[in-house]
């Protein structure tokens, strides 16, 4: 360990592994460490033994759940939005060669006590109970307006300025009912709360277009999912990094982040040895106040509650779908933030046959987080076992440019990885000093 590196990366979560992979491809000498003996950090997928070891240290996994190795239970409920930025990175770095993807079968939204499918085809839209006949016509006009919008053609603008007008004004122009607004803002634009309504309509437009183009890609839902769980994503980028010379060390507790008299990063101490590097990148858990420096490097912005539920049946009311997202818009249950359910099953090689893994999550608003997700848990039917976590959402206090300590953000409550990619782009710019430009990796397969 007496070599010196360009960058030390701490934690093998997806954000860190993408950065590690991209930096190695760029020719940087990278040392990547994790305190755990598995890949993925907070974005890992665990087998049964690891899952029970984490949540129930004194209990062996029930034998009736089947083989340990059949399980890859995600810790964070997220899907890949088909036309999103993560897909672009996966393709450009060519790590897709290590991965296989399947669609998520459907997206559902909760309304007036029951769940309905978010229409994915014209036919489904016509039949959908989510809107009445006249409202459907108004909604159709609204969507046509969005699809036809061209920035440089004012005849497509219908008097609206996406950058100046609020989303509320756009909704009002098309006369959309509050229920429809809920549906569009939460089930399609995927906003977690209603703050967007009084902001410029442009981001909402972008999000709805992302949703509809993702939906159009594979047909059933806007989401895809990697076989064997989300934990495959960090592993594949870690492999990319290793192929380009990155060094990997798991099971390495970090004792100290070493800085010089000016507070600038010097190295990382693990097992009594200090490895030096020019820069360090890491997830917030390596920079909590107890990192030894006495510095406050991360702030808690809020908390997310997540309940990983093992079911022995598909979720009722979803046509026995093998995988779903269900969104419970905040208005429907008198909250400020939406409740999400993400469910996958053996179709995605994440559990034994006839088992379903659902994660119910939301942003914590009270001091009784588990009660807050009750509306979601109630939709699941009998729950065989449940593991609840309350995770702080950390954000770095500084850009890191002054001390060469670059900290990523916690995995947030959104249902996809778009904010993870934003974080990757942001950290890249702070570390490298330039925007991240993806180059197509040369294919090295020898035929």
């Amino acid at each position: 360990m007496d070599e010196e590196y360009d960058v030390i990366v701490l934690g093998t979560g997806l954000t860190e592994c993408i950065l590690s992979g991209l930096l190695s491809v760029e020719g940087k000498k990278v040392l990547h460490m994790d305190r755990n003996d598995y890949y993925g950090a907070d974005s890992a997928s665990l087998n049964l033994t690891q899952l029970y070891r984490k949540f129930r240290p004194n209990q062996a996994p029930p034998t009736e759940l089947g083989r340990d190795r059949d399980y890859a239970v995600d810790l964070v409920p997220k899907f890949i939005i088909a036309s999103g930025e993560l897909t672009r990175i996966l393709v450009h770095t060519d790590v897709t060669r290590y991965l296989e993807f399947k669609q998520i079968a459907g997206s559902f939204v909760y309304r007036d006590g029951k769940i309905s499918k978010v229409p994915s085809t014209e036919m489904e839209a016509v039949k959908s109970p989510l809107m009445g006949l006249f409202e459907k016509r108004r909604a159709k006009k609204f969507f046509e307006f969005l699809q036809n919008w061209r920035d440089d053609d004012s005849t497509t603008h219908q008097g609206i300025n996406l950058d100046k007008d609020t989303m509320k004004q756009v909704y009002e122009k098309f006369g959309l009912e509050p229920g429809t607004q809920d549906f569009i803002g939460h089930a399609m634009a995927l906003y977690l709360d209603d703050d967007y309504i009084n902001q410029s309509a442009r981001p909402s437009y972008d999000r709805i277009i992302l949703y509809t183009s993702s939906m159009a890609r594979y047909g059933k839902s806007p989401y895809i999912y990697p076989l064997y769980g989300l934990g495959e994503l960090p592993q594949s980028f870690a492999r990319l990094s290793a192929i380009y010379g990155g060094t990997y060390m798991l099971d390495k507790p970090i004792d100290e982040i070493v800085t010089d008299n000016d507070g600038k990063f010097v190295g990382v101490t693990s097992g009594g040895e200090t490895v030096k590097a020019k820069q360090v990148i890491g997830d917030p858990s390596y920079f909590l106040p107890q990192d030894g420096s006495g510095k406050v490097r991360v702030l808690e912005e809020g908390k997310v509650v997540r309940a990983i539920c093992i079911l022995k049946h598909p979720i009722p009311g979803t046509d026995d779908s093998d995988s779903v997202q269900i969104i419970i818009p905040q208005n429907q249950v008198g909250r400020r933030n939406d409740i999400y359910i993400a469910m996958v099953s053996s179709t995605h090689n994440v559990c034994a046959k006839d088992i379903y893994i659902a994660i119910v999550s939301t942003i914590v608003e009270t001091d009784k987080p588990e009660l807050e997700i009750a509306p979601g848990l109630n939709l699941l039917g009998p729950i065989y076992d449940k593991f609840v976590t309350i995770s702080p959402l950390y954000t770095p206090t500084s850009s890191g440019q002054a001390d060469n300590i670059f900290i990523t953000r916690s995995y947030d409550a959104t249902s996809h990885f778009e904010t993870v990619v934003e974080d990757v782009q942001d950290v890249w710019k702070r570390v490298v000093g330039k925007d991240l430009v993806l180059k197509k990796r040369e294919v090295e397969v020898q035929e």
Binding site: S83, Q147, L250
Partner: protein, 208 residues
Amino acid sequence: MSNKQYQFKLVLLGESAVGKSSLVLRFVKDQFDDYRESTIGAAFLTQTVTLEDQTTVKFEIWDTAGQERYKSLAPMYYRNANCAVVVYDITQTASLEKARTWIRELQRQADPSIVIALCGNKLDLAARRQVSQEEAKKYADEEGLMWMETSAKTGEGVAEVFTAIAKKLPLTALPSRAGAGRTAAGARAGVDLNKQAANHGQNEPCNC
């Protein structure tokens, strides 16, 4: 009659510097480099073996990319591997010990039907041999592994390893599902992101 094509995922294992990459380089490109650095850049090679009955077996060969060094090989590496070559250096007793550890790991993590070949490399340095043929063969027999010795430097025994594996793989059925099916275009059940990439460049949000 039986010009059948099969594709299998083959993983390499073994201590650092026993010649894993050299072995593959010899097999795939018939090259050898005395001062080869640790593996960089090319960790996904394919090579085809044609058997006597004209059946072709294509190996998709995964190199460790150095991730074996600090117990950090990802589960993804073992996943859907149909066969493994576990390499040791006949001039280093300790490397056979390491090979035993990797074989235990394979038995724990990989599919139970995996075909494993134990391979003693650096046969060109037989004068400095520390691991006897008897010892290695006895261990391989006990564990039900194939065993042979090779020299990536001279090429001796290298092609034979892969041919022997190809013969031992169950060719009666197509490889289950697997990393193997993955590269065959259009063969996968899931979605192909690369195919979509073509549309992606054309600013497609507005083409709907």
